[in-house]
């Protein structure tokens, strides 16, 4: 049962093969038994899950069930969930029970989904390895000595280890796609503005976007059908019709034009990953696609630009965590300054503090033009690069990451090496474009991801391309050993 996709589970619920309560209980039992190995959940919401499952079963019995009714999922612990701790994997919010639901959570609740719990992540989504979590790192189910990627590492590990059939994630610089690639699952970062950010704790507001993490492209389409849409509570969400993302999955890929950016095949990447990406491209050619080399000349600038803009926004977004109204407060502050300094000094972890300092510095008087404005200029160049290429091709493809999952602790002492792992994913966030990662092979027993990038609001196209690839290959059905 645990290897079933959302689509298959929906069918099982519909035919009465099992009830939502049975399904939910089975997952809860499995999480209890297995998650010690992966640490993929911060909070398991057993009681609420069973209540939601019972309500779903009643709806199914009454014939009023929707497509998502009774399906269990997990939410990244960055989405506010009413009455449940929402920690963002930080000591700062270890005691924070959200009084409201994020729009994404609300939409899943309205659709009848069952929430199994809240998944582990890098603290405030800052990291590429899940090692900055206050609750300890989540581990990669393919090799528990290795990282699952980040920041949505807990969601990726939970889906990969079959502790949840699907999960939500958020992606600021690759935080859905990179862990999806490293854990051998499917992940989609939608166009900026496609999914509401209301109730999704902000890291870098102009880059953050929620999206699905699933076994298959078909499941990602089902998830996005629930998640996407305009929200008047998020001024940056886009008021644009939401298509049925499952409607175009079966369209043949004859004549699909694929662009391969030469900058996505860099010298210091794993050569096996380059080879597997090429092999995946060959599959697309067999499906009728044409391939040409393209250029995104400013790709290398995306990392420095990102590591100005994201920390700058974060330094401001995280100012609200001050020990005054909620969250961690230091013991016995002697005065206001002491309250601020110690609450924030003790409540935030190292990587979060590093980025707050970098961001505050970049915005400081006298440095603003040299850093923040320059980074915004680079951002425009990157956006223009993509626009030009997407005039000539339908999708851009390349590896999701330059390396497969690395060892826990391998890069923690070298933040820049860690940042470089995001080289292929970051530029999309800067441009606001949608992108997917789908499993496309293994290197030394570790999964690797193929990244598929499309034009603004081309999620339907991306899902179609990914689905056709998954019909032709079986990388997405492979599981870690012992699962």
């Amino acid at each position: 049962m645990f290897d079933k996709t959302l689509a298959e589970l929906a069918n099982g619920l519909k035919t009465g093969e099992f009830s939502s309560v049975e399904l939910t209980q089975a997952y809860l039992k499995r999480i209890k038994a297995e998650d010690k190995k992966y640490n993929s959940f911060i909070t398991v919401t057993e009681e609420q899950a069973l209540q939601q499952a019972q309500a779903a079963d009643q709806q199914i019995a009454a014939g009023s069930a929707g497509l998502f009714t009774g399906l269990p999922i997990a939410h990244k612990d960055i989405f506010c969930t009413k009455g449940v701790r929402t920690s963002c994997a930080s000591k700062m919010l270890d005691n924070f029970i959200s009084p409201y639901d994020a729009t994404v959570v609300d939409k899943f609740n309205q659709a009848g989904a069952v929430t199994l719990g809240k998944t582990n992540m890098d603290e405030f989504a800052m990291g590429s390895s899940n090692e900055s979590s206050f609750y300890g790192p989540s581990r990669n189910p393919w090799d528990t000595d290795r990282v699952p990627g980040g920041s949505s590492g807990g969601s990726a590990a939970a889906v990969s280890a079959q502790l949840a059939p699907a999960a939500t994630g958020t992606d600021t610089g690759g935080s859905i796609r990179q862990p999806a690639a490293l854990c051998g699952i499917t992940g989609l970062k939608p166009t900026y503005g496609r999914v509401s950010r209301f109730g999704m704790i902000a890291f870098a507001s102009s880059l953050d976007q929620g999206g699905p993490m699933t076994k298959t492209a078909e499941d990602a389409a089902m998830m996005l059908n629930v998640m996407a849409g305009f929200d008047k509570q998020d001024s940056t969400s886009v008021d644009r019709e939401v298509p049925d993302y499952t409607a175009e999955l079966d369209r043949p890929l004859n004549g699909l034009r694929i662009g391969l950016p030469k900058e996505f095949f860099v010298d210091d990447m794993d050569s096996a990953i380059a080879a597997q990406t090429q092999a995946a491209i060959k599959e697309f050619e067999k499906l009728g696609a044409t391939v040409k080399e393209v250029s995104l000349p400013n790709t290398a600038l995306s990392i420095p630009a990102y590591y100005i803009i994201a920390p700058a926004e974060a330094s401001s977004n995280l100012s609200r965590f001050d020990g005054v109204r909620y969250g961690y407060r230091c013991e016995n502050p002697v005065d206001l300054e002491d309250l601020y300094k110690r609450s924030r000094g003790e409540g935030f972890g190292t990587e979060v503090k590093r980025r707050i300092m970098v961001g505050a510095y970049a915005l400081s008087e006298g440095f603003y033009d040299a850093y923040y404005n320059k980074a915004q200029q680079i951002r425009r160049l990157i956006r223009d690069d993509f626009a030009q290429v997407l005039n000539d091709v339908d999708v851009i493809m390349g590896p999701t990451t330059p390396h497969p999952a690395f060892q826990l602790g391998e890069k923690t002492s070298d933040p820049v090496a860690m940042y470089m792992e995001d080289i292929f994913t970051i530029s999309l966030n800067l441009a606001g474009l949608p992108g997917m990662s789908v499993p496309c092979g293994t290197v030394n027993g570790l999964p690797t991801g193929l990244q598929i990038i499309g034009d603004y609001f081309a999620e339907q196209k991306l899902l179609n391309v990914a689905h056709q690839f998954q019909l032709a290959t079986d990388w997405h059905t492979q599981s870690p050993q012992g699962i």
């Binding site: 506010c80 929402t86 963002c88 950010r197 008047k232 001024s235 100012s319 609200r320 965590f321 915005l363």
Partner: protein, 484 residues
């Protein structure tokens, strides 16, 4: 040496929207602490701002009223600093691209001269909450009801040269925002407050001296006193060989002095940057013209009309048009009484006196403009005398009722029946034979004055109700008949 002051002002006007600038919470003043602060105002994790377009409309109205450039694309920026009553750790404001650009207003000084003062800009921003330091010993209370209330910060050019000019400017801006209905102008509640930038320089020097900024002054009188005090302080300092240090100062109304809050060195680096949670506000010509069409008559235009239409003096027109509540009140009275002069006299005289005595604003006057108009009509048609009218007015103020009701109930109707008046006149002449003899024996040119005594007696006997003109005529006729 002769010194010249240079003054620039920043006025914070709370916009009279029903809900906050970035959330749906109410902006009403005076609620229990923290009952008007929603998840967005509390800056709960994950919450996002949504711009209240009513605030935009109001800001554009102001821009048009001061003949300013309207920003076709304005952008919200974050001003970052930590304070407990600033829940997000930043204030959402507009630094780089404000909604209102360069404009100007004209002020009238006491000597009747006019002066043009530049408005540098006006931008939208959110207010902070309030820190309550006295209520909880050893602790600070935070009330976030005010957090997120929309403010229009109006920045002037450093065009003012005296406290008088500064106060005239503040009064004019106050009059504009209240006439536009975009601010209630209540200074005591902090809806309209002012930061004063003051520097001095030797007269004739072009270069500005170092300036101080005195924050959050909330009455016209305090603005004047704070500026006068600060000018004196700076002159004394410099003449004693000292230097003015650029600093932020606080005005202490109890001691009537300013004191230093923080110097430039201690000033925050606010790390402004565009707020990524809000889209730029883009407006077009159609929008601006639609707002222009809703502009009410502005104070300058109204003053001119009062002079032309009601033939008021320059001074009366200025006083009556200075505040739109007063202007509306006056016009209603003038139209009801069909006499602008008497209406002006009563609004600026009797009404104003009672309002001051009772510390009441004209918009809350217990005597409505319709009531007062009705009263003045009765003076005009000789139903009552001006003196009786004052009695009626006092009853109106304390007990309510229309002029006719009060006149009727109290029996104050003027007596014009000549038979009734003659009866009283005859009695007075009969009962005051000594005074009558004096009258008869007096020099003819002294008699006119002596009639005043008999007038007083008749009016007293009639309880003030006898028509004074008739009484005067009849007394003169009867007394003079006794002489010959």
């Amino acid at each position: 040496m002769e010194w010249e002051a240079v003054i620039g002002l920043e006025i914070h006007a709370q916009l009279a929207t029903k809900s906050k600038i970035f959330s749906g919470a109410s902006t009403a003043f005076g609620a229990e602490p923290n009952t008007q602060a929603c998840a967005v105002d509390l800056a709960l994790p994950g919450t996002l701002p949504v711009f209240n377009e009513e605030a935009l409309r109001m800001a554009v109205k102001f821009g048009l009223a001061v003949d300013a450039e309207i920003g076709r694309k304005s952008v919200f920026d974050r001003k970052n600093y930590f304070y407990p009553d600033l829940p997000k750790g930043y204030q959402t404001s507009q630094l780089f691209h404000p909604i209102v650009g360069i404009g100007h207003i004209d002020i009238t000084l006491e000597d009747g001269t006019n002066k043009r003062i530049g408005v540098t800009r006006a931008h939208l921003e959110e207010d902070a909450g309030k820190s309550l330091h006295d209520e909880f010993p050893g602790m600070t209370g935070i009330d976030l009801n005010r957090a997120g209330t929309p403010l229009l910060e109006i920045v002037s050019e450093p065009d003012m040269r005296s406290a008088e000019e500064a106060v005239a400017y503040v009064r004019k801006i106050h009059s504009i925002v209240t006439s536009l209905g975009i601010c209630d102008g209540n200074m005591a509640e902090g809806s309209f407050r002012c930061d004063c930038n003051v520097s001095i320089r030797p007269k004739g020097q072009e270069e500005f001296g170092p300036r101080t900024e005195t924050k959050n002054i909330n009455s016209f009188r305090f603005i004047e006193k704070a500026i006068l005090g600060e000018i004196d302080r700076q002159i004394d300092l410099v003449e004693d060989g000292g230097q003015v240090i650029q600093a932020t100062r606080l005005y202490d109304a109890d001691k009537n002095e300013t004191r230093s809050m923080r110097s430039k060195e201690e000033a925050n680096d606010y790390r402004y940057f565009p707020c990524p949670d809000l889209l730029p506000i883009v407006i077009d010509e159609d929008y601006i013209e639609a707002v222009r069409a809703t502009l009410p008559e502005l104070p300058d235009a109204r003053k001119a009309r009062f002079i032309n239409e009601y033939k008021l003096s320059e001074y009366d027109a200025m006083v009556l048009s200075g505040d739109h509540h007063t202007a509306d009140y006056f016009e209603t009275v003038a139209n009801a009484a069909s006499d602008a002069k008497i209406a002006a006299n009563w609004v600026m005289g009797e009404l104003s006196k009672m309002l001051n005595q009772n510390d009441t604003h004209i918009k809350d006057s217990p005597v409505t403009a319709e009531q007062l108009g009705g009263l003045l009509e009765r003076i005009k048609d000789d139903t009552i005398s001006g003196k009786i009218a004052k009695q009626v007015f006092e009853v109106m103020w304390s007990d309510g009722g229309s002029a006719d009701e009060i006149i009727e109930a109290k029996g104050l109707k003027q007596v014009t029946d000549s038979g009734a008046i003659e009866k009283i006149v005859d009695e007075v002449i009969a009962n005051n034979s000594a005074q009558v003899d004096q009258y008869i024996n007096a020099e003819p040119d002294k008699r006119g004055k002596m009639i005043g005594f008999f007038m007083g007696q008749v009016m007293k006997a009639s309880q003030g109700k006898a028509n004074p003109g008739q009484v005067q005529g009849m007394l003169k006729q009867k007394l003079d008949a006794l002489v010959s």
